[in-house]
């Protein structure tokens, strides 16, 4: 596996001022709406603690809850499948479809099926797969991965969508009116839904007590996918379990408020069994989750409810775009999840952070994201996965920072040097920091000089 170079990959995105400005503002807008929604709930912090507690309890009893969930689902008439990994998940889905002669599948957004590469797998076997979520459909038509787990095409401007739709749906390339574009997607997707042989949804919450699942969407596309075709398949990550129906109150109150700042998703759908004359299947997927559960420092990331709040608040994510992370999950949560799958490939991601801790503060299930980022950095350094320049710079910095005298001397030299050295020397290829920004003007004297002088004056 080739190592993802986050810095290099983000360069393309950064090169276009208009894109980065829109992306930054749009996501910060979501963060601002999230704050307003959260501040409107006096018990918000208590809810975060409860959500974290419920998830930690469930994860430490996961096998029992999965058995309870399965038992109840079977009683409700659902067929339950277990998949150890992505390949098995895809094979099971394909078997369900091919046994019934199904040739087309309409689906709602699911990070799990992205993780499994299911679309490519089924398409290679002659199944037409249609994403019905607007953003996800844009990404499918443009042959790109989602760049955000909630708003998959947020890195695109309306003119980019107009370009994709003109090429793939035959719309007017010069019309980038959002209503025109959304309506084109709606009108072209609707017949595909009405004619589909099978429908698929993901799962936001799987309730052990009832054997039911809850799916949260804003476009009603999951409901169309599940309620129109005769066959409904739900792909479920095993970490989606919660014990009881009453726990949904905690999570549903926080999910959309954290994601978009709206009180709830437009549709919060509860599926419990096949409708009369229909069929329903669950595919329970491990795909690395049990390995992650065994990792002392990192199992907490399994609490994630995929709201995307950590991405919206992250200055690095907002200014580099989701695609630059090179994995299914991007942003701070991607920086801690992706390395659990492939440390070498994703060793750059834990460094895509300023360590400001904002991700941890907005996380509705209190995942200690920035602490996990720091722990990954330690592991990557120990395993010698650091790039040469970073390693040597850190070694030098380590020596200087550990020795007050050396530090003081270095600061004086550096400040003097910054003022007098030519640009080419300061912005040399080893100064990664200075590549996209200006080095700030250095102060006239150091804090220590100021402090000593001030004390003398007293």
């Amino acid at each position: 596996m080739k190592r993802v170079d986050h810095v290099k990959a983000s360069r393309n995105f950064i090169a276009d001022e208009k894109h980065i400005e829109f992306h930054d503002k749009r996501l910060w807008g979501l963060r601002t709406s999230r704050d307003a929604a959260a501040h409107g709930i006096p018990e918000w912090e208590a809810l975060r603690t409860l959500a974290s507690g419920i998830k930690e309890h469930t994860l430490t009893h996961l096998a029992d809850y999965l058995e309870e969930f399965e038992r109840n689902a079977i009683n409700n008439g659902v067929v339950v499948h277990w998949a150890a990994d992505a390949e098995e998940h895809n094979r099971i889905v394909h078997e369900i479809l091919s046994k019934r002669g199904a040739k087309s599948l309409v689906k709602s957004k699911s990070m799990l099926t992205e993780e499994c590469g299911m679309r490519e797998y089924l398409e290679a076997r002659g199944i037409l797969v249609v994403e019905t979520d607007l953003g996800e459909r844009i990404q499918q038509l443009d042959d790109e991965k989602p760049s955000h787990i909630v708003v998959p095409a947020v890195h695109k401007l309306a003119v980019d969508v107009a370009d994709v739709f003109a090429r793939k749906l035959g719309t007017d390339p010069n019309n980038s009116d959002v209503y025109y574009l959304a309506d084109a997607q709606r009108q072209t997707t609707r017949p595909l839904i009405l004619n589909a042989d099978a429908g698929m949804t993901g799962c936001n919450f799987a309730i052990a007590e009832t054997g039911g699942i809850t799916v949260c969407t804003n476009e009603g596309n999951a409901d169309l996918s599940a309620n129109v075709p005769p066959l409904h398949i739900a792909s479920i990550g095993i970490e989606k379990l919660i014990p009881k129906l009453e726990h949904l109150g905690v999570f549903v109150r926080m999910l959309s408020r954290s994601a978009l700042g709206s009180p709830i998703t437009q549709y919060t759908s509860h599926f419990r069994g096949p409708r009369v004359g229909g069929e329903m299947h669950y595919v329970l997927v491990d795909n690395g989750r049990s390995e992650r559960l065994a990792m002392d420092d990192f199992w907490y990331s399994l609490k994630c409810i995929r709201c995307g709040a950590c991405m919206n608040t992250c200055p690095v994510y907002r200014r580099s775009g989701g695609l630059s992370y090179g994995g299914v999950y991007s942003g701070p949560i991607g920086a801690i999840i992706n390395p659990t799958y492939d440390l070498k490939k994703y060793s750059a991601l834990p460094f895509a952070s300023t360590m400001n801790g904002s991700c941890t503060n907005v996380c509705p299930v209190r995942i200690n994201i920035h602490e996990q980022i720091y722990k990954w950095r330690q592991i990557i350094a120990e395993r010698h996965e650091l790039p040469f320049v970073k390693k040597e710079a850190m070694k030098a910095a380590g020596k200087v920072l550990a020795n007050p005298k050396l530090y003081r001397a270095a600061m004086k030299t550096a400040n003097g040097a910054l003022a007098t050295l030519p640009r080419a020397f300061i912005y040399n290829p080893f100064n990664a920091w200075g590549k996209q920004r200006e080095v700030p003007a250095s102060p006239k004297y150091t804090f220590r000089d100021w402090y000593l002088k001030r004390n003398k004056a007293k």
Binding site: T60, W82, E88, L245, E246, G249, T268
Partner: protein
């Protein structure tokens, strides 16, 4: 089923030390009046509140609001509509519905949500294939917040 056993065994070996399950309170002290909250949230998420017509003729009110509607499919007794949900056999048959009329089992003030299951829809696709949805809501059926919605009703 060896898959299932293997996954469960792996999880049992991986599970960290047990953590307790917290109790979830109802967070319903000092909740503002449900109807007021419902109307505010509804405006926030793009719905429209309409008071029941003074003359009690809901059918006429719906026709007046959607004058170009060809197909009005009703799942409630109060409105006849142009198509009865009882006559619909297949979910696909609702593809041409302009207005669906339903009665939710209950509503949630906090989020302006309405609860509709197969008991209310009869054919679920009614709620999603229709272009517009009219919900007849009894003011007594609005609960304060989502905790109430998800708690099993306490019998007294």
């Amino acid at each position: 089923m060896s898959n299932r056993q293997a996954i469960l065994a792996k999880l049992r070996a991986a599970q960290p030390a047990p953590r307790p399950l917290p109790m979830v309170p109802l967070f319903d002290h000092n909740l503002p009046p449900a109807l007021m909250t419902f109307k505010q949230s509804l405006a926030l998420i793009g719905g429209t509140w309409v008071d029941a017509p003074a003359d009690g003729d809901i059918e006429a009110a719906i026709r007046a609001r959607f004058p170009t509607a060809q197909v009005i499919c009703s799942a409630v007794d109060e409105v006849r509509g142009s198509r009865r949900i009882e006559d619909v056999a297949d979910p696909h048959d609702l593809f041409d519905v302009d207005v669906a009329v339903v009665r939710p089992a209950f509503a949630v003030a906090e989020t302006a949500s309405i609860w509709l299951s197969e008991a209310e829809y009869r054919v679920n696709s009614l709620g999603y294939l229709a272009q517009h949805l009219v919900a007849l809501l009894d003011l007594d059926d609005i609960v304060g917040n989502l905790h109430h919605a998800y708690h099993p009703p306490v019998s007294d």
